[in-house]
C-alpha cells in the first residue's frame, strides 16, 4: 500500500505545481468558468488514458488509441447522430474487434506494438471513409451531458474523478480486475492456476475498446463535430498519462487515479503553455520536454524509493 501511495504522490505534486503556476500567471482562471476552460478536454483525454492503461496493465502498448478515438468520434458524429441504432452497433463491433485483437495477440504471441500500429492505419482509414472532411454533428444528449452545469465544481473536473473512481472499483477492487492485473504481474502463474490468458487479454483489450469508444463520444459531445484526425495526439497523451500517473510499462503496476491525474496534468500543461504565450511552434516540443522531464524526475524518485 505504501509504495502505491508513493507512486501517486508524484503525479499529484506535478498537478499541484502546474495548477499553482497557472493561477499565478492568470489569477482569473481561479473560477468556475476558468477551471472549466482549463480542463476543457480533460474528459476524453482521461477516458483515452484509461483505455491505454488497460493495455499497459497486461504488459502491452497500444499505438492505435489516437486513431481509434478519432474513428469513434467520426462514427458518433455521423451514424450515432443520424441512425442511432446502426451507430451503436458499429461502436459495439469496434469493441469486439479490440477484444479479438487481444485474443489474436495472445494466441499467436504477436508484438502488440506492431499490431496496434497496423490497426492505427485501419482505424484511420475507416475514419477517413466515414468523414472525408471535418463535419458531422453531435447527438443532442451528448452535447447536453458534456455541457452540464454541475454545482460548485465544473463537470470537466468532476467527471474525470468519477471515471477514476469507477475504474478503480472495477480494476483495483473487483475480483475481475484483480485477475486482469494478474496477467501483467505473472502470466505463467495465471496459466498454471487454470485461467485462460487468451480470454483475459481479450477482456483487457475489450475494456480498452470500451473506454476508447467513450472517449470518442465525449470528444464529439464537447466539440460538437468531428474529423478523421481529431484525436491523433491521444496516443502519446494516453501513454504519457499512464506513466505520469505512476504506471509501469511491465509488471501490471497501474493506478486508475494516477492515470486520470496524469491525464489532467497533461491537459493542464497544454493550457499552461498557451498562458505562457509560448509560440505555437514550441507547444509540441514543450509537451515532449515535459514528458521527458517527468520520466527523469520519476527515475530519481524510484531510485530513492529503492534505496530507502
Amino acid at each position: 500500500m505504501t509504495s502505491d501511495r508513493l507512486r501517486l504522490l508524484l503525479p499529484m505534486m506535478s498537478l499541484a505545481v502546474l495548477l499553482g503556476a497557472v493561477f499565478y500567471l492568470q489569477p482569473r482562471a481561479m473560477s468556475y468558468f476558468g477551471l472549466n476552460l482549463l480542463f476543457n478536454l480533460a474528459i476524453p483525454v482521461a477516458l483515452a488514458t484509461i483505455a491505454q492503461m488497460m493495455i499497459i496493465m497486461v504488459n502491452d502498448i497500444d499505438l492505435s488509441v489516437g486513431t481509434f478515438v478519432s474513428f469513434c468520434a467520426c462514427v458518433t458524429a455521423t451514424f450515432v447522430h443520424d441512425t442511432p441504432l446502426l451507430g451503436y452497433a458499429i461502436l459495439a463491433t469496434a469493441i469486439l474487434a479490440y477484444a479479438a485483437l487481444g485474443a489474436l495477440i495472445q494466441l499467436r504471441g504477436l508484438p502488440a506494438i506492431v499490431v496496434t500500429l497496423g490497426m492505427s492505419f485501419v482505424w484511420g482509414g475507416l475514419a477517413v471513409l466515414i468523414l472525408p472532411s471535418p463535419g458531422g454533428a453531435s447527438p443532442e444528449w451528448l452535447k447536453t451531458l458534456m455541457g452540464l452545469k454541475t454545482p460548485l465544481i465544473p463537470i470537466a473536473v468532476i467527471a474525470p474523478l468519477v471515471i477514476a473512481l469507477v475504474v478503480h472499483l472495477l480494476i483495483k477492487r473487483s475480483w475481475v480486475g484483480v485477475i486482469l492485473q494478474g496477467v501483467g504481474g505473472n502470466e505463467r502463474a495465471m496459466e498454471r492456476a487454470g485461467w485462460s490468458v487468451v480470454r483475459l487479454r481479450a477482456a483487457a483489450y475489450g475494456l480498452a475498446g470500451l473506454f476508447g469508444v467513450l472517449a470518442g463520444m465525449c470528444l464529439v459531445g464537447l466539440t460538437t463535430a468531428a474529423d478523421a484526425n481529431i484525436a491523433l495526439r491521444y496516443t502519446l497523451l494516453s501513454i504519457a498519462g499512464v506513466i505520469l500517473g505512476g504506471g509501469e510499462f511491465v509488471g501490471g503496476r497501474i493506478s486508475p487515479f494516477g492515470a486520470v491525474i496524469g491525464a489532467l496534468t497533461l491537459t493542464l500543461a497544454a493550457s499552461f503553455l498557451s498562458f505562457l504565450r509560448l509560440s505555437p511552434d514550441w507547444q509540441i516540443g514543450a509537451q515532449g520536454a515535459i514528458l521527458i522531464l517527468v520520466l527523469a524526475v520519476r527515475l530519481l524518485f524510484l531510485r530513492k524509493e529503492a534505496a530507502a
Partner: protein, 490 residues
Amino acid sequence: MDDTEIGPGADPAPVVTLEQVHMSFGPVHALQAASLMISPGVCIGLVGHNGAGKSTLANVINGRLAQTQGQVQYRGEDPVQRNSQNAHNAGVRSVFQELSLCPNLTVLENLRIPYRTMPRRSWRRVARQKMQDALDLVFPGHSIRPRATVGDLTIAERQMVEIAIAFADRDREPSLVILDEPTSSLDAAIAQQLLDHIKRFCSAGGAVLFISHMMGEIFEVSTRIVVMKDGKIVEDQAAQAFTRSSIVDAMGHVAPEADTADNGLSRREFGPEIVRAANGLNARAGEIVGLAGLAGHGQAEALARLFFDHAPKWKPAREPEVVFVAGDRARDGVMPLWSILRNLSLTTLPEFSPRVMVDRGREANLVQSWKEKIGIRTENLLNPILSLSGGNQQKVLFARALASTAPVVVMDDPMRGVDVGTKKDVYQMIRDEAAHGRCFLWYSTETDEILECDRVFVFRAGQIAAELTGDEITEESILHASFEMQEAAE
C-alpha cells in the same frame, strides 16, 4: 484444519498412485518406470542429486506434465479430463522454488488467483480472512498483513505467503501438498514452524511430498523417504530404515574420484593473485576456486558482478580479462537462432579477426579444432545450436569461453544436464587449462565438482561463510558451513 479429521487409516484410498510412469523430453529420459503411492497421513521426503528427476516427478504428480507412458491415478476421480484438472480436483497443491505470486497484487488478492471458485460477494473479506487464517496456522506470530503488496515483501515473506496459500482453506481441502525446497529462503525459526505445521497437517490426514537437500529436515518430518537417481526411484522405504549415510549412498556417492583429483591438485604452485572482489572472493593464476553452498545463496550474483565489473560495455576487448560459462543455457548462454559455429565463436571474434570483418577461414578452423578437442557430437557445425542435446550445447558454451585467451574463467554451475562422460572430459580440460596458468571460478551445486577445486568459498545468505583449502574440502565441511544456522537451531 480440525474439520478434516480423517485420521490415518480411516480413508485408505491413496491420494495419488503412479504406475510405471515414464517421462521423456526428446532423447532425455527424465523419469523412468516410476511407481509411487501417496496415502493420506504420510509425509514423503524426496531426495536425490540435481537432475535426478525430483522436479519432473513432482510435476507429473501435480499434473503440469503429462506422462509419456504409464498411469497416474487420483483419488476418487475418473481419469477422463486432463491430469492438471484431476490433480486440482483431488486437492493436490504445490509450492515451487520459482515464485508463482503476482508481485503487483496484494497478499489476499494472490489467494484469489488459484482459488478460482471463490464466492464473489464480498470476496475481499473472505480472502482476507482465509489468508490471515492460513498464515496464522502455518507461521504463528508472523507479521505479514494480507493487504500488503507482494512486491514490497522480502523474499522470505513471499515464500511464506506462497506456502500459506498452498495450505489455505479453499473450495477443496488440500489433500496433498508438494513442497519443493520450501525452506531455501526461510530462516531457521520460520523453517521450524513450517516443519511443525507439516507434522500437524499429516497427522490430521493430509499428505505432503517434501523435496529438500537438507537431511535434517527430511529426517524430521518424513514418515517415508524416496530416493531418486538418474530418473529412477531407487529407494522407497519408511524413514526409520535410513541413516544419513545410507541415503547419501543411495543417491550415488562420488568420493573415490574426488580423492585422486584432490591429491593431484593440492601440490601445484599458483601464480599471483589476479582476482579480488569486495566480498572477499579472490583467486590466483592457475587456481581452480570453487563457490559452494546451497543454491541461491548469492554465488551466481557474486560471479555475475565479478564478470560485469571486468567486461566491456563500451569498448570491445581484443584481450578480454574474463570470460563466462553459463549454466542456465537458455537465459545466459545460447543464441537460439544461430548455428553451432556462430555460437561457439561469439566471444573470440575480435581475438582472431584482425579487423572489423569476421575472418571466416580462421573462424572455421577454430571451431573445427574445438569440436574435436571438446567432442561436440554433430555432423555439421552449421546446424542450429538447438539441434544439439543439452550436454553438447553446454560443450559449445565451454568452448566459447575456453577458446579465448582470457586469464580468468567464470563458471556459473555449468554442468546442468551434462552426462557423466562429458563431465569427466570437462574436468580434465579444466585441470589442463589451470595447469597452463588459467584461473577458474566455479560455482557448482554438486559436491563432486566442488571437490575438484583447489580452494572453496562456501556462501550462505549472500556472504562468504567459510574458506576451505586442500584437505579441508570435504562434503561434510561444505555441508557444515552451508547449514550452520539450520543445524544450530536443531
